[in-house]
């Protein structure tokens, strides 16, 4: 007995294992011709209000790659009406756009929708002679279309599954990253808390066991113990601020603040640290916009930014601070010419638990919480903190922006300036 291969069965088998649209198209166009004996077939996909002629297999070119509005072509008709149609002679059918067909061999056709209940495409079979497709021909074409619909559905499910898997993997790897950052942070925290404690313990031992501590020795000990206690206090304060911020419990106590005066004070406070590091710290321009803010917290913001700028500047480096009005905004810029930041780290500068330099040879102490606190406090002030750097060793600029407060005393200020301008200049 001779085994006859059934092209429809082959096609259905092939479609069942197809994993992408291109394979589905290829199987459909080959099988449709074999099954109907047509001179050409097209595989059309619906794209919104258009038919897209995705693929074809024909004795001469048809419309592969072209798009037509659904209502202007016969494949669109089959999709919109959710049913097959047979056109024995294209010249006497009103639904046929004659100008589109004139250049082709087509004299007759049959069209079936793909996914009858809600068509996503159509399969067309074309003949170079007038031909009324039989019920069998249409039936086998529709079976093929149904199998293609299922295959396309599978392809979509497969793509959705891959998307879901990729999202899940991304979520897991970012959770792992967060957990790793937290572990690193806890190790760092432990290190940073133990280091000053070690110094303090050693000094206490030294003072106790030494029979006669000179005044000089005592002063030296007190100086070191004081510095290391302050270091630890600052770590603990920062830690508390960050955990309060994470719990949404960080708050500010706002009043009208002169931002220029605030910066003057902050620079004054940071000067000793800058001098010690041989970094030139300068307030280059101070306008006096007023904002609503918490004076202590604003000092904290500026100290965090300034101490970073000083810390990451080499001896001989420069840190420049300016305060200007920019329309309705007050802008503080803190610009240093120090260590700079890599493009990869720049987006993470204000993130919790992140530091540009990690590893066992890191030069800078601290927990890397300073800028996180800056960002939290700026948000509470309704402002923004942003960073710019052209790259390593290219310096860093931190920009703090606030909304300028409505000025009820604008009048009196103008008056004040007018009065001041009358004061003779010596």
């Amino acid at each position: 007995m001779e085994l006859v291969r059934d092209p429809l069965l082959d096609a259905v088998t092939g479609l069942a294992s197809a994993r992408d649209e291109v394979t589905v198209c290829a199987i459909v166009r080959k099988a449709a011709r074999a099954l109907t004996g047509a001179d050409g077939v097209t595989f059309v996909l619906r794209e919104g209000n258009h038919c897209y002629y995705a693929d074809e297999d024909a004795i001469a070119p048809l419309w592969k790659g072209r798009r037509f509005p659904l209502e202007t072509c016969i494949s669109g008709w089959a999709m919109l009406n959710r049913t097959f149609t047979v056109v024995p002679d294209i010249l006497i059918d009103e639904r046929i756009p004659q100008d589109v067909y004139r250049a082709t061999f087509v004299k007759s056709l049959a069209m079936v929708p793909v996914r009858r209940e809600d068509p996503i495409g159509a399969i067309g079979a074309y003949w170079a002679r007038p031909h009324a497709a039989s019920a069998d021909e249409v039936g086998v074409l529709q079976s093929l279309a149904d199998a293609a619909a299922l295959a396309l559905h599978n392809v979509q499910l497969d793509a959705d599954l891959q998307d879901a898997l990729r999202l899940e993997r991304q979520a897991r790897s970012s959770a792992e990253e967060a957990s790793r950052l937290k572990d690193d942070f806890l190790a760092l925290l432990s290190h940073e808390l133990r280091t000053p404690l070690h110094v303090i313990n050693n000094w206490l031992w030294q003072l106790k066991q030494s029979k006669d501590n000179s005044v000089g020795m005592l002063a030296r000990a007190l100086d070191v113990i004081e510095r290391n206690t302050a270091l630890q206090s600052r770590l603990v304060d920062d830690l508390l601020d960050v955990s309060r911020a994470a719990a949404g419990k960080l708050s500010i106590d706002s009043k009208l603040v002169d931002l220029g005066a605030t910066c003057e004070a902050a620079v004054e406070i940071a000067l000793p640290a800058a001098r010690e590091k041989k970094v030139a710290l300068e307030l280059t321009r101070a306008e006096h916009p007023r904002i609503w803010g918490d004076p202590d917290r604003l000092q904290q913001v500026l100290w965090n930014v300034l101490s970073n700028a000083i810390k990451f500047s080499p001896a001989g480096g420069q840190v420049a601070v300016s305060v200007v009005r920019d329309g309705s905004r007050a802008v503080i810029e803190i610009r240093d010419n120090g260590a700079g930041v890599t493009a990869e780290f720049l987006p993470h500068m204000f993130d919790r638990f992140r530091q540009g330099e990690m590893g066992m040879t890191r030069r800078q102490g601290g927990l890397g919480l300073g800028l996180t606190i800056v960002r939290e406090l700026m948000t509470l002030h309704g402002g923004t903190a942003t960073a710019e750097s052209a790259g390593p060793q290219q310096g860093t600029t931190i920009r703090l922006e606030f909304a300028i407060a409505e000025e009820p005393q604008a009048q009196s200020e103008v008056l004040g300036q007018a009065l001041r301008s009358k004061v003779p200049v010596h």
Binding site: E192, T195, H198, W205, M360
Partner: protein, 125 residues
């Protein structure tokens, strides 16, 4: 009068290095100071200390790398090294490099006792 035992202290944090030097001098040791792994290796070659107290986190060359280098150098490999670190987990994978590991904060008594143990000396304090 015997020559005091030479202890090399490698520590980048000035406040910690200063006070450890004082403490160890009080205990009768002669102290050599190094601020990073590179200085520690140079000082070890030049001054042949009896023992090295090594911090782990240091710029230029960390303590772990410096100790590995010591162990690779024929003239230095027998010098005992005591790791003294605020993050002891970093030496857990390389415990065999060290004669002892001390966690900061570490009391000077424990440090002195450990140095004496490592050198087979009677504690001086």
């Amino acid at each position: 009068m015997t020559t005091p035992t030479k202890v090399l202290v490698a520590e980048d944090y000035d406040d910690a290095r200063d006070v450890m030097a004082l403490v160890l001098e009080s205990a009768g040791f002669q102290v050599i100071e190094a601020r990073d792994g590179v200085e520690a290796l140079d000082a070890a070659r030049a001054l042949k200390p009896a023992v090295i107290v090594m911090d782990m986190f240091m710029p230029n060359m960390d303590g772990l790398t410096a100790t590995r280098a010591l162990r690779d150098e024929p003239g230095l490999r027998r010098i005992p090294v005591i790791a003294q670190t605020a993050q002891p987990s970093v030496v857990s994978g390389a415990r065999e490099l060290f004669d002892a590991v001390l966690a900061k904060p570490c009391s000077p008594d424990l440090l002195i006792r450990t140095i004496c143990d490592v050198l087979g000396l009677e504690p001086a304090v």
